[in-house]
């Protein structure tokens, strides 16, 4: 079931079209990545889902019903730019935002203490927001966004401004939220995070949705039938043995005498004979299909060479 379905969204600004007939379906309980180069229209789509901006045409459905303003209040939204009062103290501000989300003062205090503890940032409580670094403010904003445990979370570039350690912390939290039943939508350039945590993605380029679907399916369907074979103790030259069966792209031997071969197989051809041949002539350590990384797919899709 889809928690959000945005159909044929078009949004024009004075000088350019930000979104051109974009349709996305976001399955409930998934971690959904919105990918795309800078200026592709990701943030605009997020702002439309949040009803901050209205589309020129198209509709957004929430649980298969046309989305209303009240639905928005069930969303936890983390904007790309930090939306915090600069002059306010961290703790006070967090309580203020939590109370607006419907938590009591006491409840928000209990939850905030827990999260501050978890991120070991208790001593930020009385600091002013303007004294925080970008990453620090981002953490606060993240906590405030998820504090009321909304069923739908939308993060705009959540990893920007984070060091790798904090980015990992954030990934874990996002997966933890999904495991608790929340749906998470986020936009990013960080492709490694996409492979690690996204179930589904949509790739937006030049205001258009150019690729949508399950991450594993996308990666497998864009494989090029390239395999690597790791082997040792070859009885014959494996290169000669295999060269009639497939195209050999690379062949090397490392200092431990272990061979590594990269081969390309014709579409739809059977790989079993190749495995048998290799097995007869050497000790196979691994035989793996190379699945393109999201990074490759992203670059190829954007360059139009997918």
């Amino acid at each position: 079931m889809n928690i959000i379905r945005a159909e044929h969204i078009t949004k024009r600004f004075t000088a350019h079209t930000a979104l051109d007939d974009v349709t996305v379906e976001i399955p409930q309980g998934s971690v959904y990545g919105l990918l795309g180069p800078n200026g592709a229209g990701k943030t605009t789509l997020i702002r439309i889902i949040n009803r901050i901006t209205m589309p020129d045409s198209g509709h957004v459905f929430f649980h298969d019903k046309e989305m209303t303003q009240d639905d928005v209040y069930r969303i936890g939204y983390l904007p790309e730019e930090r939306g915090l009062y600069r002059k306010m103290k961290v703790g006070e501000q967090a309580i203020f935002l939590a109370r607006l989300k419907g938590l009591s003062r006491h409840e928000s205090l209990v939850r905030l203490k827990k999260w501050f503890n978890k991120f070991s940032i208790e001593d930020w409580w009385d600091k002013k927001v303007e004294d925080l670094s970008k990453g620090m403010a981002q953490k606060i904003q993240f906590i405030v966004t998820i504090l009321h445990e909304p069923k739908l979370l939308i993060f705009d570039e959540p990893f920007s401004g984070f060091d790798p350690i904090n980015a990992n912390l954030l990934k874990e939290e996002i997966l933890g939220l999904r495991d608790k039943g929340a749906t998470v939508i986020f936009s990013t350039h960080n492709m490694s995070s996409v492979e690690e945590i996204c179930d589904h993605i949509t790739l937006i380029n030049l205001s258009k949705n150019i690729l949508s679907g399950n991450v594993d399916e996308i990666r497998h369907s864009h494989g090029n039938n390239i395999f690597t074979i790791q082997y040792r103790n070859a009885e014959k030259d494996l290169k000669e043995v295999l060269q009639n069966k497939c195209e050999i792209l690379e062949c090397s031997t490392d200092i431990m005498g272990q061979g590594l071969m990269k081969i390309h197989i014709e579409n739809d051809s059977d790989i079993r004979p190749i495995i048998s041949l290799a097995n007869e002539n050497s000790e196979i350590r691994s035989f793996t299909e190379i699945i393109p990384s999201m990074n490759d797919i992203f670059i190829r899709a954007v360059n139009g060479t997918l």
Partner: protein, 445 residues
């Protein structure tokens, strides 16, 4: 509704706990007081240095009759003008008054030489004295019997005592000078509150929009709640400030002024407040050898009348809050529709124009508190807070005040409704510099 409360709380706390708020709130009344006391203090301690004039009187009638006082001292001198002038060339306070021989017929034949610039009051003093002497001399030429006696009887001195004629109460003595000064001050206070607190609302909305706080807020609370929370929060700050000021003023009026003023004056002030006849009081005091300035007495009676002050402060409070709410709603709408404070200037003209009109009309109250334009402007909601504050101390029927207040608050509700529409669209607009026409269009979405 709950969200509005939370937002009001934040807006209020953010401002009231600021050092600058605490300082201005306490310092302003002190400053105002010093400012109003300044003229009196200068008169008392500053004083003017006495100036000496040598009088060379060729006609022989004027010099002996000139009366010296605190400011000028006349000394008849028998010498030529040149010698007199050269004699005390170094003394800045020295001067020579030269009266021509035929002063009775040629009244322009009087000259004043001073070593430093003279003052208007001194010149007026001297010419008035000379005029009087000449008049008397000319009368004498008619050879009227008992002239001195007749003149003495003819002399008149008028002290105008004004009364505010109110239906509800017995007429009380009032000082129109004090009333119009009070009115001006109140109008000024209102003017500053509207402009300063109004733009506080506007800049704070712009800031929220720029810092993207609005993006977070908008997915949490309704734009209308945001706007109302902000307006009411800042209104609460304004109310706090005015209440503190009011309390300080009442305290000063009822405790401080009576204790520093001479006690015999205060007794008389109390008597006036109690409804005693001023003429009788003045006559009585005169008999005791105390001179009382009637206008001073009535002014004092007005400004130390706690009931009167409370009435004025209450109406000030109501008009201030009403006027603020009305203007703040408009300021908020403009703040929401622009990205930068500079872009707002073109739009704020719509707001500042009526405030300035109100201010001009406020000035007109000084001349005529009952003119048609003043009357009507005290009802039109956009000008009424300022103009009404100018009128109230002069004394107007309560029914007019109530009508004006009702109109003001009704307009506020309408303005909030309209501003809410602009606000809702404005907050999500980025990178657009809207014109008035755009705002008008947004109203119809």
């Amino acid at each position: 509704m709950n969200n509005i409360g939370i937002i009001i709380g934040r807006e209020y706390k953010e401002r009231v706990y600021k050092k600058s708020f605490i300082i201005t709130t306490i310092l302003m009344p002190v400053l105002l007081l010093l400012l109003s006391a300044a003229p009196a203090l200068i008169m008392r301690y500053g004083g003017t240095t006495k100036r000496n004039f040598a009088v060379i009187d060729k006609s022989g009638i004027i010099a002996s009759k000139l009366v010296s006082d605190d400011e000028v001292e006349f000394t008849p001198l028998e010498s030529s003008l040149q010698d007199a002038l050269a004699a005390n060339y170094e003394d800045d306070n020295y001067g020579v008054l030269y009266i021509g021989e035929n002063i009775l017929t040629d009244t322009n034949d009087a000259k004043l030489y001073t070593n430093s610039s003279s003052s208007v009051t001194i010149e007026a003093n001297i010419s008035k004295q000379i005029e009087k002497i000449i008049e008397t001399e000319r009368l004498k030429q008619y050879n009227i019997e008992n002239l001195d006696k007749i003149l003495e009887q003819v002399k008149a001195s008028v002290h105008l005592t004004t009364f505010r004629n109110e239906k509800e109460k017995e007429s009380t003595a009032s000082s129109s000078a004090a009333a119009s000064v009070v009115g001006m001050i109140l109008g000024f206070i209102l003017y500053f509150f509207l402009v300063i607190y109004g733009s506080i609302v506007m800049t704070s909305v712009i800031e929220e929009k720029n810092s993207r706080v609005l993006d977070v807020m908008i997915s949490t609370v309704k734009p209308f709640q945001m706007m109302m929370g902000k307006i009411l929060g800042v209104a609460a700050v304004a109310a706090t400030q005015i209440i503190i000021w009011g309390a300080i003023i009442v305290l000063i009026a009822s405790v401080v002024i009576p204790s520093i003023m001479p006690s015999d004056l205060m007794e008389n002030v109390k008597a006036v407040q109690g409804g005693a006849d001023i003429q009788a009081l003045v006559a009585q005091s005169g008999a005791q050898g105390i001179e009382i300035d009637t206008s001073m007495l009535t002014a004092m009676a007005s400004i130390t009348d706690t009931g009167y002050i409370t009435m004025i402060l209450t109406t000030l409070f109501l008009f201030l809050i009403g006027g603020f709410l009305l203007y703040a709603a408009l300021y908020a709408a403009i703040g929401a529709s622009v990205d930068q404070a500079q872009d707002a200037q073109q739009l704020t003209i719509v707001i500042t124009a009526p405030i300035i009109v109100a201010f001009v009309v406020l000035m007109m109250i000084m001349q005529d508190p009952n003119s048609q334009i003043v009357y009507w402007c005290s009802f039109i909601p956009f000008t009424s807070p300022i103009v009404m504050m100018g009128r109230i101390p002069v004394g107007i029927p309560t029914s007019e005040i109530i009508t004006s207040l009702v109109l003001l608050y009704v307009t506020f509700i309408a303005a909030v409704w309209l501003s809410g529409k602009i606000y809702k669209i404005g907050v999500s607009m980025h990178g657009v510099k809207p014109s008035l026409k755009d705002l008008w269009r947004w109203l119809h979405y």
